[in-house]
Symmetry: C3
Subunit: 449 residues, 3 copies
């Protein structure tokens, strides 16, 4: 399939996928009541307005997905078209698929309800394959990415349902279900697609130039700025304000720490742009699962300090070690930005869950830890709930991250096997990390310029 | 007027225009009641807060105009200062003029009311000459752009009044009144300013380089992300949520389709950045007029697929044909991003209007199709309305786009004649598509870099 | 301290600062009631939602700080890593410190309340040292910036308390307390750090290249677009809508004026990117203090015209004069973007304050000019207030700017002395305006590219 004919058949498959989406939307998707006209004699005009009260946060997340992720990946000096273009393509494909897949898990009367909430969920889901793509950046074809995302989103939706609705874990900012899942899935695919041992040296194009590094800072800064929206969009009431505050403080602390640790461990104590572009954001991931809990400002700052430290050390020591030992490439270092910080977040969630007292969370217990309702005599006040104890909830948090990582790795290995051993076109070493394989790239400019 | 003295007189005219604006603001513009202090004994403090509930959407549109349009046009490799700078200049000029011109059409007691709504309308109006500028990019002086925009905004305001208030067509996202108008006006100007036949070869600077293409993706991604705000800002109630959902899905489907069609029709089946930068957005234009209707998710996706296909084919085949046949340059391909998708949107609006049933739209009929109120016995429930039938409304939709395109082309030809045959400074072939004519450009960097 | 060891000790100090912040957060900071769970039997669920109604404006300001300021400073062609990186580092450090310092001035029961308002205030405060950094750009080490910001924020918080709470001046958009303070503080530091006379020629790296100028336009356009949020975020009720409208119009007028004046005074009447990047924003600063007053559209436009003119003339004539006469470098020209426009704003505030009539401001007098309540018989309606007259308020406005400028200059001189005469590492002339001192910069690319 190395011929243009091979490319053509790949794009034809993509068109067929889009048309299948069209049919599925036609068969299964309907506007939710909030998005339908009220009856002529209804009194509640304007209630729709309230229903879109999360629209500004949705738009922030849109920027994170389509601008933030896209530009964060432009740091490779010959892969900017692909970074921005394939992010756009993948996200546009995945949001449609996520509306359908998440919808199938919550159908009513055989129909999927479409509302602002659907597309908020879809945008969050789009982050998952984009994180995985970060691990593989420059070493896959767009058709491989297409197949990976379709399967990954289905598995993500199932795992998320399991974690949130069955295990009833808290994961407000999605560090477990989104970040850990996306990172370990991508790493498992990368492991399966690893080069034969004699090709192990880093490609000469696997690096930044001065301009591409500054483009990447567009991604970093927008992700930084809008991360509080990502973490808080699914929180309720006062928990929403805490999610904003905790995320903001954790990011700030992680950023300061990143600069310190980067300078301390780098060559000649100079700052490394890779750390600044990525580890500054680790605070947002590490606070994700617990962002709406009663951390206190100091809790958020402490999590940020730990995340920044772990992330920079990961870039400096762990990633090179994985590359040299396992031949596991991780182009964007998603293990350091998403993987390990998500593990920190899960661990923090177990610790904070074990400390939950009903008198602290009061009316919010139902929202945040629904399985704990019914414990300690609150059953008399609120019906339902499993009466789970604090330490039991802590155990479920750890169980949730464990299952998620296992599902992600198993799914990633399976995906990697399919991408490697079936007749997908594979990129050769000298075709990697450059746009020219899939894009018309302008010729070099005339000398006079 | 080729001398610096000619430039000077142009800028002096511009200053006079700004001072005339100042006088007109002083004479005619007053804050709307919502922006004035409440009386000391008033009870309704906080109602102002509701009045600015559309502020986040306004800010999204601001980004589209000042960042999105600006950077989308940076793709030319020697025209980045002009793309970002002239967009800023034009938009800053036009928003003031639009507040005045749209205000004159809705005066009360001889005064124009200034409120958040005024500047939302002004930002939307600013899109019109920026679209036209896209057709002309690199081939006009700033003073020519100034004159064009002043006349174009006046004509736009009149045509919009005609279409919305007289013909009573639906055009929620402005595809007819904004996109079709701006595109065909600009194309008509470009036709009048077309080069003599012997200069027909494309200028050597009329193309991108690697860095300028990535700058352009800043424009694309922000326009993509915020397009739902552009389309939904003037919608009401539940229609606002539908406008968001339909625009989002149409954009997603157009994006996937763009990648497919671009690869299928391009040289060696490689993706073309021009398509990715522009045609991915065609879904937003094509769904514009109908975005608040009951399209269903499948309707929005279908419109997106059609728009992406038509737009890429337009770039690949129609634009080169227009250039070679009519010597009609269209630098940014606005015909493919704004013109044809707007025609699709108008056609879709006629189809959907012909299917309107009062029992579907119920309480929203008044907002969306005010002229149909009174039809079919609803008069007993809602007063007013012209009792227009569904098929009659469909006819008005087609009439609306027809009149708009004619007015735009006539206005554009007139403008082109003025710009060409009066003593405006004109750019010579070798002065085009480069910043050096109007900007101080840094000297080439020393060799060592 | 020129050795890597010197750098190391600087970064260790920074880590200690971050840990001290952690301790202070732990000891003093608590969530405000709005961010805590409601009691189980409380009825007011959803009120928290109202408490975060300013969240979209907060996010706009976040973009201004972390994207706007960062990219506006990327115009230097070899200082892009530092511009974006040090802005991120400084802002992340300062927001934490500002929460603490502003909190200490408004403690309740020995605790600082943490809410969305705290971090809005912190983001605004972050602008102050970033403005000062603009004057010094390229001539300080990150450790010098760290020390400067810590002291500057403490002094800023004290001066702001004095101006707003003691002198009771109006300063809705912070032009006096933020822009004038930051600019004159930074200029005073720059004066103290000025080079010995024989090094006076501009460094060869103190300039832009084509790409860096376009990166800077990212900063300009986002600052332009979101400035209405910066100015209006602390306004109340209808004043908030006026703040938006006035800022928007002032920016638009300043932008048009900037283009005119830039062309008229520049070499060969070509536009200068420095003016377009900066002076277009002067309208936002100049309207800041008065943005919520009853300026009328014409008042806002007039202020914008004046600001644009003064700012361009400052860049063209005053800055070179200051450099040649006082050896005062002002890399970004903050005097022209922040300093002089803030003085204009203060002067305008005195003029408008002198014209205040209670019957115009009615219920908003309490919010905007609290010290004037009680004047003219309003005491019978609203309790409290100092009964200050309009002309007295005007005097206080002038007194406020005078004190602010004096405090800023004194603080800046003191800071400059500390940075110069203690054993901080200083940058030599040939180390300035380039990233290589503090960043790992990619090697030049291979010839073939």
């Amino acid at each position: 399939m190395h011929s243009p004919a091979g490319k053509v058949s790949g794009y034809v498959v993509l068109m067929i996928v889009q048309i299948i989406f069209l049919l599925l939307f036609w068969l299964f998707v309907r506007y939710e009541k909030s998005a339908l006209p009220a009856a002529l004699d209804a009194e509640d005009a304007g209630s729709a307005n309230e229903h879109v009260s999360k629209y500004p946060q949705f738009q922030d997340i849109q920027v994170m997905i389509f601008v933030g992720f896209a530009f964060l990946m432009t740091f490779l000096r010959k892969y900017g078209y692909s970074a921005t273009g394939f992010t756009l393509f993948m996200a546009a494909l995945v949001v449609q698929w996520a509306v359908l897949m998440k919808g199938f898990l919550h159908m009513e009367d055989g129909k999927i309800s479409l509302s602002l909430e659907s597309i908020i969920d879809a945008d969050i889901a789009a982050a998952v394959p984009l994180i995985s793509m970060g691990a593989l950046l420059g070493r896959t074809t767009p058709i491989q990415l297409l197949c990976m995302s379709l399967f990954e989103i289905a598995l993500f939706a199932a795992n998320e349902y399991l974690a949130l609705n069955v295990f009833s874990i808290c994961d407000c900012g999605g560090s477990i279900t989104v970040h850990a899942f996306g990172a370990y899935f991508g790493l498992a695919v990368a492991l399966m697609l690893r080069p034969a041992s004699d090709q192990n040296e880093a490609g000469k194009l696997e690096g930044a130039n001065y301009t591409s590094d500054i483009f990447a800072m567009i991604g970093t800064t927008f992700l930084w700025v809008y991360w509080p929206s990502f973490n808080s969009v699914l929180a309720e009431g006062a928990g929403s304000e805490r999610a904003i505050l905790n995320t903001f403080l954790s990011l700030a602390a992680a950023t300061v720490t990143t600069f310190v640790v980067s300078a301390l461990v780098s060559h000649e104590n100079k700052l490394d742009m890779v750390h600044v572009q990525n580890s500054t954001l680790a605070g947002g991931v590490a606070v994700g699962t617990v962002c709406n809990l009663l951390l206190g400002a100091h809790g958020a700052v402490l999590i940020g300090i730990i995340a920044g430290t772990v992330s920079v050390l990961g870039y400096r020591y762990l990633t090179p070690w994985l590359t040299s030992t396992l031949r596991l490439h991780d182009t964007c270092g998603v293990h350091n930005l998403h993987g390990m910080p998500a593990l920190i977040s899960a661990l923090a969630s177990a610790i904070y869950a074990s400390l939950v007292r009903i008198e602290d969370y009061q009316s919010e217990l139902q929202d945040i830890f629904p399985a704990m309702v019914g414990n300690n005599g609150t059953a008399s006040k609120i019906m339902g709930g499993l009466g789970r104890t604090a330490s039991s909830q802590a155990g479920y948090q750890l169980f949730g991250i464990g299952v998620t990582v296992c599902v992600a790795i198993a799914g990633g290995i399976l995906t990697g096997i399919v991408l490697k051993y079936t007749n997908f076109r594979k990129l050769q070493k000298d075709e990697q990390h450059q746009d020219e394989q899939y894009w018309e790239v302008p010729a070099l400019e005339p000398k006079e310029e």
